[in-house]
Subunit: 242 residues, 6 copies
């Protein structure tokens, strides 16, 4: 567990700084523009809606409990323990639990361990256990439900650092995970740079539009930005920069 | 877009003032008493549960996306833009999105435009985009879900100011929409006056009952109010007025 | 309604004090250890997530509305009134409403009466009416939905103090009901003593593990507690006590 | 188990003969005309869609399994056995299982016993076990799902011959249960006579309309029957009778 | 009602003959190839799975019932009657009922009228009433559920021959509707010719592949058809034609 | 693809012959008796309810579509092709598709290939494409839905012969899969022998009970079989054998 995990680290400090300013909605739009339609995870609630989460996907897959297999998958250093203990600075734990609300996927002790090791957030399309204690940690966590029971009821932790489907979205270990008050988006690791670049431009345009609309202008020509208004936008942008 | 919208405005300042004091539960009950059973929109979450919303229904209907129709319904001055830009003081935007959680119906720029133009609130049985930014506006918004994507994924904006079904409730443009921390109720425009009148009386009786119950009296005879306790109620009401 | 309700009162002041310190997750685990798997109520939202609820189950069952039976089950001193008015100090009202979100099971006046009489909390797998007013009472309430309508739409109050199924969990009148920010767990009345005793020990071990993990130790050996680390735990426990 | 069950028997041979000719849709309509809106059980599949079922409701309620209560409710002569063994000629077994698809409510042996004793049909809003064997009996059965497991997984049989909610419809023991290829309707026992009487008239009118429409006439004036066409109908009816 | 409906008729006898040989799966694939992803209606059951349905979409939209609007939308010559009575040879009736299973959208008399007038089929994402009688007509009908009640419970018929969303698919009046044992697909009217042309070629290739696979060849190279196997296919096709 | 698959073959001809006589309900019960509760797959429909299916589980897992990964997982000899082409005599194809109804997992050509290679059946908790053509093959297939589209809409085929969760049940490649008109049960490969042995005894007892109940005896003492009736059963069994 001491050897570094063999997964790409695509997040440079610059990219991370940029992602910390970009809305998940903007990132989702940029991916959609590239023909990648299913990247935002619907139906998950943030425990800390005012915080932002940026990190590298570390994946954990739960399968249905079968009692004759509990010894194999649940006891000892199981997949959950392996994954949490191998957390590196900057990791986000993403779990596949198939929308099951009737047993939890992680509790406060493993969540604490994740954050102590430098983890940046936890995402599950299943339930949390110890929700109040996990909320008290004060770090970004996204979940589908809460339940007082964990292993032994519905799930077994099965595999780590393999591709999963979480909340209907395909996640590859090493992908970039971003969360805000709206929810969570997965950015394929190969696309992060270009997506961030274009998202920054898009967000500037939306900031311009929002400022003008808040000041009383109609949306037409501002959103989406028309050719006619592009000079206005550029002047505004240059003024803001200086 | 400059001509006033041809929809009845049934809300006088007095009615509006009264509606600002009446719970959606009381209004729902009054409509139920008149045999109108399906007026409260179940399953919607308020972004500002402590605020009240009162206004005139302006309706927008989303239909399922079909890519060969995107040019017709989505580009240019589409139905969404037309409706938002024609918002008048006192309007509430009500959208039919058939409970689809996997693509949004409105984002922060159009929401801002709605409120700048004097809009009083936004109601969707689909998803919001830019939920944190919309919440930051600080005005009443009711929604079923949040999603990072908007047009081009599930919906096309289709028609404006025509009757719709939102969250299972029939809404006619011009109807009165009231929201509080419980949710949203639709009052048919022809019935507003009588409903408000009777709701004010009902709420007085409930206030009386609540005060007495809080003071330790049993509910029986107080709620519903019995003949025997009516004089007590009337004395209390008269005392309160003076 | 003045005669004391003929239901066991298994909660001594000591048990209650202990239960006020025990997480629903810990209690759910202890019941699971005894082979009782379905005791935590999934899908309910707390109105006061920061509060704790401990009390004796008083049950109320709603059945589907049938208009020819309304006189029998709904008018006069119906089951809802009977149950609420017979609330004793320490009771929790638990309602079976089969997950119906489109009509409420209780409003603010009956909720107030429950708390005035010493009730400790309200649990429904249906909807609340007057949710903002009930939230303003500031006492523990757990619900599935909110709706502006109550009787006469979907439900009739049917029976009191008989076993029910609430949110998929079997509840016997007299059972112990515990709630926290995670949700609600039902403890069969015969098992409260032993469950509390073992839960206190379990929670001490989890506190020890959490403290060490927060301080930077790996989870392995700490959770679950290994033989090797048991002396450490015991020393920590003894030190904490003194 | 030898004493006759103390439940009204409202079905005379004449009523039964009439009900065997009346569609569940016609009966549902007659009840709706009397203000009773929720009498048809949605979502149930008939094993024998071409057969008709008419009988008296005998009710059985399942509650959620709780392992500490299995001895009380499941072993020995439990509620299921009591009810099935007390079946009388003309009874229909109606079970409340709250839409649970993941464990069955009855298997082939008890189903066989029901029919041997003169039972007329089985209705469950849960699952059947031994579905192929039950289908092979060749008698009317309506169910929500099929599952290989029965007791000990999700349910305990709880009470017999008490009012229940099946598929969202309130059922009183002794009510009349009618089934056809469309599904099942519950007729309150007090209303059977008048409902049958009016349903026979309604069905005659619909037969007339259907015959004319099949012969090429427009629906207008025929369905619903107008004053102008009433003499035509009456002539047709009199001709058919003779 | 005697003037011909002003809707395009794009189905020539040749196209219709071709469509009668093409699987809905093949047509769905051809539309998907053109970037139109949502054209197959999921979740509907065929009453006559062995029959094929080909026709022109005539649309009817149901909205939520609101009792104060029943006179306007339900009585007299309502939208349902208008649409059914205006059926022309070759029409398929497609209804939007938003997946509501608890009230029907059409019964046997109007269904009969549809077929008498030359209608080719009925599609609803809501319920049928008189399902056994409609099945007895022996013509193609696709539905989501069955229910004994029709108007006055959940729906009002609202508009005719306007675009709708049925089972999550956008349908324009005049579009081509095709059904088989798998379900229903909507072909945008402008695309029918090219879709049919390419679908015929695709189906020939699939027939070739299926024949060879049935004869024991591996799927690779056959499905999808590789360059290497194209000459084989062409020889087979030419042989079949002659 | 010519090397035999490296998976245990636990099914001897004797076991297979026995399993062909055993109901899935009986097998589910035997597994439940051993503490293995979740082995029957709920919610799947048989295309051939009158047939029986017995075979070895070959597993295929679908994940959510992500367009940037289509080249990797979908084109060329993808997981679906690899698995189907490696089918051996006696295999059952079991697919994990997470209950997605809006895109299919297999069509008629691959289904045909499966059966040509000696496959015994197909099980999916997603949709079939070409359902009528697959039904025409006349072999056992169990599915959740039907849809005209296959790859490129919701799924990518991901992995083969690894453990999966199908319809909420954990399936290990090599496990025994049994299907009848009720549905499908998974028997852990290590337990097949003992489960079959005990299931044969159980089924004999149930046959005895059913015969007697059909002949008019009460269920009590017969099901479950009491000590008092055991001699009767043994006599019946011995008589039947000779």
């Amino acid at each position: 567990m001491s050897a570094p995990i063999d997964l790409p680290k695509v997040l440079t400090p610059d990219l991370e700084a940029s992602l910390n300013t970009l809305a998940t909605a903007t990132l989702t739009h940029q991916l959609h523009q590239r023909g990648i339609r299913t990247t935002f995870l619907p139906g998950l609630k943030p425990l800390q809606p005012e915080q932002r989460m940026v990190g590298r996907a570390r994946t954990l897959r739960y399968v249905a409990l079968r009692e004759d297999q509990q010894r194999t998958y649940q006891s000892g250093i199981n997949a959950q323990k392996r994954l949490v203990e191998s957390t590196e600075e900057g990791d986000v734990l993403v779990m596949e639990a198939r929308g099951v609300a009737e047993a939890a996927t992680i509790g406060d002790i493993f969540a604490t361990r994740h954050f102590v090791l430098g983890g940046r957030g936890i995402v599950t399309d299943g339930a949390l256990r110890d929700t109040p204690a996990i909320a008290a940690i004060g770090k970004p966590v996204y979940h589908f439900a809460s339940h007082g029971a964990v292993l032994g009821r519905k799930h077994m932790p099965f595999s780590t650092d393999e591709p999963i489907t979480c909340a209907g979205v395909f996640v590859v270990p090493g992908d970039v995970v971003v969360g805000d008050g709206e929810g969570v988006v997965i950015i394929p690791m190969d696309l992060v740079e270009e997506v961030v670049q274009d998202a920054l431009i898009q967000e500037e345009k939306e900031d311009f539009a929002l400022e003008r609309v808040a000041a009383g202008e109609p949306t037409i020509g501002l959103f989406p930005l028309s050719k006619e208004r592009t000079p206005d936008f550029e002047a505004w942008r240059d003024a803001r920069k200086s």
